[in-house]
Symmetry: C2
Subunit: 594 residues, 2 copies
């Protein structure tokens, strides 16, 4: 029997193995073996490696989901500590992988790593992430405090988990800061498993956070209903059975629920940016000339921020009033809900108008879209679209409930209008954000005043302003105009043609006047994006901190029944929260780019 020296076991058919007498046959065998060996040790094809690691990650998440479903049933055998042990194992594996990755990178410090400049396009993403991570760390501290208070009667896992989770948070933020833009080119298959493991570990942590929060909210809701004399549902007791040994236990447990939303957003965002890193593995980045981004000018930025701040102030007012009033009598409750819907209608109308104006500006100012490959932007688009689904489903359910119900609740028709506007607002906002993200290249080109914006504008100004004719004729002669026209057609056909960017030929005094109408458009777009950004923050704050009239208004619950409607909300509200936070980041990108 032949044993291959370097450990790759190869099956050996007996009839071949015995024929070692004939040297040519033995050589033949050796060659076959060496060929087989080469084939097996060769890098796995990229597509397969993606599928194999993607399937691994999905299954990890599904095991977690199965455990969560078992816990949701409050059965006697599967408890929270089982889920936490599973999650802790996953976290520890991820920690080891990140350590290994850092060591490998450190050892090969001299070898240059390719980096994808588009991954996490704006500093705010990484900055925002760090802020969210800090709040997560505070949450871990509170959890440890809570465990110390109740350590005599709760599982030790509740103490171990926050410690591990805090370590994980610190290590992961470090990883994101220094390595998220790396394009991995060595050990591809192994790295792919490592990155996808990290993606799905974070997704599982997100699911876990969402479930805990939903359960807490549901218990609060049932408690409120019983206080008003409505409900006949039993609350599952979450409290441990012993007394707290330290004085700040109740502070810990109540503060936890204000920190949950940040922890949830943190995990989903890390997961999204790690996914981009996974998509980048083995990719060849095109060496495009570094486009210098135009300095983000803040001149003319007045109406957007002012309206946004107004919205923010009123949101905080509404939140406080709503939360205090909804626990009072039935009448107070109804007026609080009406107030919420009216406020929502006003803000959504403004947002729709903003989005529509932005789109109209784009239509008036035609330019081809940038279709170069950019996994980060593709993911942004898909996430915006996908996370809208939750909110849309909720809105259409409300519409069906209003049309089908025959109750005389005072906020019936305001709720109807609010739901339709929610659908419309997401529709226009998605279109606006996606078109903005895909237009960037041309806008950047237009910042150079010597690359003149569009022939039409020229012929117009040239007839009015004789002093510039010389320059303008020169502009007509440059190949860029022809190139621009070619680009129009090429983009339609899915191919990309890169116009050569001319080196700056010195500033042309007086061209400001030509660039003026574009600047006004850009200013309007900047105002719109900052206004939409702040409105999205408002609409994130409200549900994140407990203002969820979908639970309280009773319309949908009557139509769909408690269990179906709760299931819809448990699916839709986390998606909607993610949508809002994601739009904030995307709109900041838009703000930087227009």
């Amino acid at each position: 029997i032949m044993v291959e020296p370097n450990g790759l076991g190869v099956l050996c058919l007996s009839k071949y193995c015995h024929s070692s007498s004939s040297s040519s046959s033995s050589e033949h065998d050796k060659k076959i073996f060496s060929k087989l060996k080469r084939n097996f040790s060769r890098d796995y094809p990229k597509k397969n490696a993606e599928i194999i690691s993607g399937q691994y990650g999905t299954n990890v998440l599904l095991i977690g989901a199965a455990l969560m479903l078992a816990i949701a049933n409050h059965g006697p055998t599967v408890k929270e500590e089982h889920l936490l042990s599973f999650v802790t194992c996953l976290i520890i594996i991820q920690l080891f992988w990140m350590l290994w990755y850092n060591l490998v990178r450190h050892r090969r410090k001299d070898a240059r790593t390719e980096r994808d400049v588009h991954a996490t396009t704006c500093w705010i993403r990484v900055g925002g992430l760090t802020l969210l991570a800090l709040l997560s760390l505070i949450m871990d501290a509170f959890r440890i405090g809570y465990y110390v208070g109740f350590h005599s009667c709760v599982s030790a896992m509740l103490g171990v988990y926050p410690v591990i989770h805090a370590t994980h948070t610190v290590a992961q933020v470090h990883f994101v800061w220094f390595h998220i833009k790396d394009v991995i080119k060595s050990f591809e298959t192994f790295e792919r498993f490592g990155v996808i493991h990290a993606v799905f570990t974070n997704l599982l942590l997100w699911c876990n956070g969402v479930m805990s929060e939903a359960e807490h909210f549901l218990n609060n809701h049932i408690r409120r209903l019983s206080a008003l004399g409505y409900a006949n549902l039993t609350i599952v007791n979450e409290e441990p059975e012993c007394n707290c040994t330290i004085s700040t236990c109740s502070m810990f447990s109540s503060s936890l629920y204000y920190l949950y939303p940040f922890n949830i957003e943190y995990h989903i965002f890390v997961s999204a940016i790690l996914f981009i890193m996974w998509k980048n593995i083995g990719r060849t980045i095109e060496l495009s000339p570094k486009r210098k981004r135009a300095a983000t000018k803040t001149q003319g930025l007045t109406l957007g921020p002012i309206l946004g701040l107004l919205a923010l102030a009123s949101t905080i007012g509404i939140l406080v009033v709503y939360i205090t009033q909804v626990e009072e009598s039935v009448q107070m409750r109804q007026s609080a809900i009406s107030m919420f819907y009216i406020y929502g209608i006003v803000i959504l109308v403004f947002m729709c108008v903003g989005g529509a104006v932005g789109l109209a500006i784009y239509r008036a100012d035609y330019s081809p879209l940038d279709t170069t490959k950019n996994p980060s932007r593709q993911l942004d688009t898909k996430l915006l679209f996908g996370s809208s689904v939750g909110s849309w489903l909720m809105s259409w359910c409300s519409v069906v409930a209003v049309l089908g119900a025959d109750s005389g609740l005072p906020y019936r028709w305001t709720s109807f209008i609010y739901s339709l506007l929610t659908v419309l607002e997401k529709y226009t906002q998605n279109l606006f954000i996606i078109e903005s993200l895909y237009r960037q290249q041309v806008d950047a080109k237009r910042d150079n005043p010597e690359l003149l914006p569009a022939p039409e504008i020229f012929s117009l100004t040239s007839s009015l302003a004789p002093p510039y004719t010389g320059i303008i004729n020169q502009a007509y002669d440059t190949p860029d105009q022809a190139c621009f026209a070619v680009e129009n057609e090429q983009v339609e056909s899915g191919q990309v043609y890169k116009c050569p960017i001319k080196p700056s030929e010195g500033s042309l005094p007086g061209t400001n006047k030509v660039a003026r109408p574009l600047n006004i458009k850009r200013q309007v777009l900047k105002n719109i994006s900052i206004f939409l950004l702040m409105c999205n923050i408002c609409l994130w704050i409200l549900p994140a901190f407990g203002c969820r009239p979908q639970y309280d208004n009773g319309l949908e619950e009557e139509m769909f029944g408690f269990s179906i409607w709760t299931a819809v909300l448990n699916f839709a509200i986390p998606l909607n929260l993610f949508y809002r936070m994601h739009s904030v980041f995307s709109l900041f990108d838009v703000f930087c780019q227009v």
Copy 2:
């Protein structure tokens, strides 16, 4: 006030409109207007048109979903006829659109339409679709018969709907036969709405079918449980309140549920292939040389079909025994469930081995993957992956249930092994199908014997077989070998390099010997794909016709509770059915291509 002659209304600011005295200013205005007009009438950018129509379709589906949720609650106001009216409206819109499309195509018969040869790659898809459509038509006939029997006490909508649905089925099959490969290049934005409307109408019909079937199955299940003395759940009465006026009513209503699975598959498949048509709108198809597919040889095709037929026969036996026994006593029920799991384990082990052997052959026979753009193949991949999720979730839930439960049911550990094998089988099968679909180009090349398979084989055979040396040296000199090496690297870097395919230089007698080992591999692959295909049919038949031990075994219901587990099954079983049917079609593609 200026009125544009060709109907495009343009807003006119009053201060400009009155200044008709100054001719230069008026010219200026005209130019601005004409520019604006041009910009607005220009084709909408492709990315935006996709998003805008995708969002429209999603919302249509969600409205339907909201109605279905309301019906699922059996409330007093929203009834099935409301949903049917909504669906009928959608169907009528689609019918008008298809009519319009046919008329436009007919009028421009002389203009050649580009066609995507990859859309619905195999004739079996369209053939299978037609068969499913025929069974759907029979179902519509039964529905009409049912309505005639009960017309005095049911809504007229129950009679109108099947008529419209039958018309829709006929028109849609006609559309698929003649137009599904069209690449639409005119009226793009309008067509995009039409196609996406058709996609989501079919998806909604799929959802509706799934819901009806799930409800029917659940009612049966509850009835069975009550018969065994377990249940305290109430059945919602579905029967109309009057007597049937014709004799065959009960035949109609019981046959309906055997036809449901076909109707469900029909709609999801139409939806998937229309989606490919939508993706193709405005695309520029690369003019690749028409590859002649190697005639599907059936020689050496013995073991696969024999094992497959064995599996099919035993499946039908199991189905009959299971359905009859599960309604009997508790003991009979338990033995039926045990029998199912043992049968499942045997078949899944064979399938895993088949998939693994196929993958091992691919590893031993390295070739680069084909990375040209092909929406049909991309969708196949995503659907395989996405629809596996349902089954995986179900399996992991079973694993958790077995590990967490302390019941002494006899089939506890067989169910555990069955679940793990289900996960593993989908894992390997997905990898096998996806790799097969992505390897096609190279396999086609190898069918030309003069394009010699790989340098290693050459050097090997050339040393053994002097008569061929001349030919082989010639082969070494051709640019194809170098091209082959280049291709390896290019594919890894995500780019595609097309090797020129040499015209056939006449057959070379004796090269059969060289091609021999490949032919054995191909025969093995063909056997594997036909065996997996038949096994997938088996695993489709069982749940489609009522053999669903996940409902009957009691393990998971104990762990997760009735409502959570039913929700999981209602989500997972339709996805799993779709997965099986989709793999059948994909494996047939694989069979044609290897």
